[in-house]
Amino acid sequence: MRILLVEDDELLAKGMITRLKRMGYQPELCTTGKQALLAAEDSGFGLMILDLGLPDGFALDIIRQLRHSGVIMPILVLTAQSQLDTKLTALNSGADDYLVKPIDVLELEARIRVLCRRQQQRTDDNLHLAGISLNLQNHHCQFQQQDVSLTRREFMLLKEFMLKPDRILSRQQLEELSYGWDGDNESNAIEVHIHNLRKKLSANLIKTVRGVGYMLVTQYGI
């Protein structure tokens, strides 16, 4: 899942990016509100983490504008401002959660998962589909009751497939998910990860749709 991180402090952003990647997310960084508004037009983000103290103006306006234009992606406000009225204004403007710095990364991770769970209308963090069980919290994966160990990128791809079963995910979508805007785009990298997933799970599980992308098939012949 791609996360839009809006944070102007370079050091903090760096640490967050490292952490979020390790948690199995693909963060993209914006340092100003203007950038954030442009980036949010890209529908590929699953969540936005927003710092309120942005250099070019009030982050609260960003929330209002996004909500006004119908963007429903969860927005988690992460800020050093702890006053009640700021909290209330942010939540009332359309933010889904409000965390005050300093934060514990475990809490941040849990809250991100909670927001996604609500967004995807799930009751827990376990995905079950076509014989695969995927735990989004501890990244534990089982296929037909057998433990399967996945790399970070494989986990990200499989999670995306399981959240959107029987739907074609384009190559570009999958590449952005794995490498971000400025990642290394070796043309065959996605193929390598898909190939590995097929090897670890089942060869027929992920179907190639030529010229378009890939699709997780829930009714497949073994």
Partner: protein
């Protein structure tokens, strides 16, 4: 009612004044009445004497050798004072009749006397009024001589009877005063209470103020209390502003402390689970950088706190030019090299102050001027003395931004475009405070090069010798 109160003093004062005035009035009336009574009684003594003499001369007593004639007077002296004048007018005379006694002597022989003249004092054979004390009683007597018949008429009256009447008159004066005192006092009390009501209202309003509720007091008050109300309101406004400033300071300080703390925590947690040497290096760098930022912030905060409690400084006359040179030399080399420095200094300028504090002011302003100037820009420093004996230091840079000039110098204020630049936003606030401690002023104006002119003014120190 408390003794130390306006109400009490007003009540006491007005009541005493009223009592005093009324008593004086009664006293004067009493003495006037006594005087008038004296005159009436004196006249009566004379008239009675003349009447008796006329009577005796027109109808001389036949029995020369007989016993003197005793005239009966009614004994009704004990009649109460409660009777009306009509009731006192009796068939056989008046009660005061008994209080005038008389004697008539013809040729040294007593011919006639009133019944009550037994205690009559020894009369003086000298025409006119006399005051005679006999058996401890003072009598007023009148002696009248008719030479043709060798007839002496003496009339007399006891002085205490006059006093008694006087006392009755005085009592009649005092009684209404005593009756009026209580209701008057009560009325005065009510009036005072009514007059002081606005003061009480104002007091209630002030007493109800809490730090959360410091709104202006808007009462319709009498003219005398309006300045008090506006003074209270302006104080409330100052308290409000101060509280707001403190609130912002706390919010800003916690904000500034929380960000580096977040960085520390995040990178420390990253470090604990890092496997990649690159990740380790990144976390360590971030932790180091963030700790530096925090210690700078804490130092600045401590300076602010220290300065805010500093009320007096050790002053000495300091030549300004060496001070500026020293401050410049303390700037980091990379800032010194970043811009061109243009100095126009009047070497005779001297200021009164603490050299360490003043250097930190100059260093801070110069540091800011260079930091927020574009690379290869020019920072000019100008010192001069104006006609009012003020020393002016003008430091200008170019190409900065349209800073919110009014907020420059506020604690933690940093222009949004400069949030990336190193610093926490406490420097100018410290500078402002030090300049004020030196009885100087600092102002900021945007200049034509899109930069900022910082003008610091100090009172001039007189040159030695």
């Amino acid at each position: 009612m408390a003794f130390n109160s306006i109400k009490f003093y007003l009540l006491l004062g007005i009541n005493l004044l009223m009592l005093g005035t009324l008593s004086l009035n009664a006293w004067v009336a009493y003495h006037d009445a006594l005087h008038e009574l004296d005159e009436i009684y004196d006249a009566e003594l004379a008239r009675s004497a003349k009447l008796i003499s006329l009577l005796l001369s027109s109808n001389p007593l036949r029995q020369i050798n007989a016993e003197p004639l005793v005239i009966a007077v009614p004994h009704i002296t004990e009649m109460g004072e409660t009777l009306s004048a009509q009731q006192e007018r009796l068939l056989d005379g008046h009660k005061y009749e008994g209080k005038i006694a008389f004697q008539a002597q013809q040729g040294g022989k007593l011919v006639m006397l009133s019944e009550n003249a037994l205690q009559f004092p020894t009369p003086k054979r000298q025409a006119g009024y006399h005051e005679i004390t006999e058996h401890g009683t003072l009598w007023i007597t009148f002696s009248y001589f008719v030479p043709e018949q060798d007839l002496w008429i003496f009339t007399a009256q006891r002085e205490d009877i006059r006093k008694e009447l006087g006392a009755h008159i005085a009592q009649a004066q005092v009684r209404p005063i005593l009756f009026m005192m209580l209701p008057l006092s009560l009325l005065i009390y009510l009036v005072i209470k009514l007059v002081l009501r606005p003061l009480q209202l104002l007091q209630q309003q002030v007493a109800n103020k809490t730090p959360e509720q410091l709104h202006e007091i808007k009462l319709v008050l009498p003219l005398e209390l309006q300045p008090v109300q506006s003074a209270i309101n302006s104080m409330l406004q100052r308290i409000r502003r101060y509280l707001q400033q403190e609130k912002r300071f706390i919010a800003d300080a916690s904000h500034e402390l929380r960000t580096p703390l977040s960085i520390l925590q995040l990178h420390a947690q990253n470090l604990s689970s890092a496997t990649d040497p690159l990740e380790v290096a990144e976390a360590v760098d971030a932790i180091t950088e963030s700790s530096k930022r925090m210690s700078h912030l804490v130092n600045q905060l401590l300076s602010v706190a220290r300065l805010e409690h500093l009320q007096q400084i050790d002053c000495e006359a300091l030549p300004l030019t060496p001070l500026l040179h020293q401050s410049l030399s303390q700037l980091p080399i990379k800032l010194l090299d970043k811009v061109h420095w243009q100095l126009e200094l009047d070497d005779s300028c001297q200021v009164y102050g603490d050299s360490t504090l003043l250097q930190s002011v100059l260093r801070n302003v110069l540091d800011n001027a260079a930091k927020y100037s574009p690379a290869d820009g020019t920072v000019s420093i100008q010192t001069q003395r104006d006609s009012n004996h003020n020393i002016m230091v003008r430091i200008s840079n170019g190409g900065s931004t349209n800073a919110d000039i009014n907020r420059l110098g506020d604690r933690f204020y940093r222009h949004q475009q400069h949030q990336q630049t190193e610093g926490v936003g406490l420097g100018l606030s410290i500078v402002k405070h030090i300049v004020e401690l030196h009885h100087g002023s600092i102002s900021f104006t945007a200049n034509h090069q899109h930069g900022l002119d910082v003008l610091i003014q100090f009172p001039e120190a007189a040159a030695k010798g």
